[in-house]
């Protein structure tokens, strides 16, 4: 049975149209709040909040346009995200000056990984980075002839490329699923991943602001609280359990599993990247996104939730993977 759809010139499944519409609705509310906030708290500076909301509009517009346009657009968009995130990470991480050209080689992982997505070569994608990149990079570093700090630098390259490239590349990979395999098409599956991950970030933050009292990891992420973590977990899990049947082909059991695990993965990605940033001595990885910080700051949770989401779907439901 074909998925019900609305006509907006393109064949857009109605669940996806409602989902995108819902996000726009939330953004309109956020924009109103950002504009009205100074009336209720005069004297406080809300320019950062406005920048933040404005940046959300741009990000949502880019992702929505790519979801509607199809897998080539989404592949290009995430290749760009991976490149900028990797550039942020490799610029902050301790790297030996002899490895300048190895850094250039590390960027090659972006066109290779996303090229494999475009060529629809999932089997090679799976090994390209964790086997071949992991073998060639240390070899090139050995050719550079510097053994001081060799092992820690290998781990810098490996960690950066896995999180920024390999783990995000599964998002356009998911987009290559035949539309018939999911109730709202491949774009609907990708939408739920991005929506649930960002909703989890926002809900953990809001619950923490409203109810936060007990610090959860004061040394790594001093603003995070147990109340924010648990509140965000519960609300996001409910959201996923409610939306999974509309956007994914998962049965009830795997849907519940995903609902329980995805917020945990989001939290894990967030605090892991916080630990990395704390070690590097920075709060934000750049100022690329006005009001948010760097691209890596925005996608930190996604580097953990994307592989989880992909693997749950691939294992329980998708015939293609």
């Amino acid at each position: 049975m074909p998925a019900p759809s609305v006509e907006i010139g393109l064949h857009l499944p109605s669940a996806l149209a409602w989902g995108l519409g819902g996000v726009v609705g939330v953004l309109v509310l956020g924009t109103l709040a950002a504009w009205l906030a100074p009336r209720f708290k005069p004297g406080k500076d809300f320019s950062e909040l406005r920048l933040r909301v404005w940046s959300w509009w741009v990000m949502v517009a880019l992702v929505a346009a790519a979801l509607v346009a199809g897998w080539p657009a989404l592949t290009l968009l995430f290749a760009f995200v991976s490149f900028v995130a990797l550039r942020e990470f490799l610029s902050l991480a301790p790297i030996r000056s002899e490895d300048r050209l190895v850094v250039l080689f590390a960027y090659l992982s972006v066109p290779v990984a996303y090229g494999l997505v475009a060529a629809d070569l999932y089997g090679i994608y799976l090994v390209a980075i964790p086997v071949w990149f992991f073998l060639i990079t240390p070899f090139l570093m050995a050719l550079a002839g510097q053994t001081r700090g060799y092992l820690p630098t290998v781990s810098v390259f490996n960690w950066g490329v896995v999180t920024c490239v390999y783990n995000l590349g599964v998002i356009p990979m998911l987009m290559r699923t035949p539309d018939a395999e999911a109730p709202a098409g491949a774009a609907g599956m990708v939408f739920l991943l991005l929506f649930a991950t960002e909703a989890n970030d926002v809900l953990q933050y809001v619950c923490g602001k409203l109810f936060g009292r007990r610090k959860i990891l004061p040394k790594v992420s001093p603003n995070k609280t147990w109340e924010g973590f648990l509140g965000g977990w519960a609300l996001t899990a409910l959201l996923i359990a409610f939306l999974a049947p509309l956007f994914t082909p998962l049965a009830l059991g795997p849907s519940v599993l995903l609902a329980v695990l995805l917020p945990l993965a989001g939290f894990a990605g967030d605090v892991t990247m916080s630990a990395v940033k704390r070690d590097l001595g920075v709060k934000d990885t750049s100022h690329f996104i006005p009001g948010h910080g760097g691209v890596l700051d925005r996608v930190d949770s996604l580097t953990f939730t994307a592989p989880l989401y992909f693997h749950v779907l691939a294992y329980y439901a998708l015939a293609k993977y």
Binding site: R87, L92, A93, P94, I95, S97, L104, R148, V282, F288
Partner: protein, 218 residues
Amino acid sequence: MPSPNTDPSPFRGLFLRLLARPVARFLTGADVVGREKLPLTGPAIVAANHNSHMDTFLLLSVFPAEVLAKVRPVAAADYFLAGPALSWFARRLIGITPISRTVARGEDVLAPAKAALARGEIVLVFPEGTRGAPDELAPLKSGVARLAEAFPEAPVVPVWIQGAGRVLPKGAIVPVPMNCSVQVGEALRWSGDKPGFMSALRDRLAELQASAPPLRWR
């Protein structure tokens, strides 16, 4: 020797906007802290540290497009006017204001920069005089103070460029994309005495360097 034509080509604006700026952003991220402190009208002097040929491209890419026509980097004549191709590129497309590093008797090496300031342009200077060791501030030359003295109404905006020495270090041929941070500081004004002005500029640059993201380059 007649001085070479330093009027920018009519294609300079297009070149900077459509080619130089996207390439500079791709290679450096062009992260700017304190963008509102950049001068948008001339005469004004921007004084930055210098480690890489990327510095000029990076600075040109952080100005708004409508201001670019007035932004003129000061560059060493002995280096950039050496060959005909490089000279044409530097003068006509980058729009440099040449400065001679070897002083002939009676010659005012700052004359082209002063002429640019007199035209109300924004002049980019690298007071270290050359590309030094990566991300270290070499001793400053006092030409910037003489420019400020000649144009006391022009603000002197200190800028610290962090990381360009990794993208394209002195002597390297292949650029490697790495995030750079452009830290724009509060403008200085000519204070009336050269040593005081130079030490104030040096202090501002050192403060900006301290506030830049750390470079872990072992």
